[in-house]
Subunit: 111 residues, 2 copies
């Protein structure tokens, strides 16, 4: 039995969501579509991944939500970054860059 499961998110989900919302306030469904487009379909968020993450981020005070009418005329819950969320996003992006550099150092090692 082969383990073909590809680990996609690697703990970047929060950062990706925050980044999407930083571009402009969006509802959950739109966030999933957006991250799909931007990543050329690499990220295809499942709802069971997305919504709990949104709630988590709101509970932590990084996002704030409000119901508005969506583009299609239906009610949808729009998320926006809080100031804390913006700071957090910046910190996450910084750490992400440090992290992938550290990984690159290891992977490139010859010895």
């Amino acid at each position: 039995m082969v383990d073909d499961r590809i680990e996609l998110l690697k703990g970047t989900l929060d950062m990706l969501i925050l980044k999407a919302v930083a571009m402009q306030p969006m509802h959950g469904y739109a966030i999933a579509l957006r991250l799909g487009q931007l990543s050329r379909d690499f990220f295809q968020l499942q709802q069971g991944t997305l919504y709990p993450a949104l709630h988590r981020l709101e509970d932590r005070g990084l996002l704030r939500s409000k119901w508005y009418e969506s583009e299609t005329g239906r009610e949808a819950k729009f998320y926006a970054l809080t100031r804390k969320g913006r700071r957090h996003l910046e910190a996450e992006m910084y750490n992400w860059q440090r992290m992938i550099k550290a990984v690159a150092l290891v992977l490139r090692a010859a010895d």
Copy 2:
């Protein structure tokens, strides 16, 4: 209360361990030191992280272990890559590159 905890590994632990061992068979303690050196101390593996991971990788047939005398003259459990482990490492590295490219696409997005 600020959440300062930095998530370091992001699911790359297995890949990092396999890469270290791919360079040359090593015992656990040496793997931790090695990954520390190579990453300029970014990765500082705790033993409670390292040893369960090694056992996991061995259970999955990606590593094989044997007791030998270490550099210091003590007994230590040396791990080596299996063929399956080598294939797995290559796949993980490939997926990792795809993944960080996808993240980069999102993070660089302007809109």
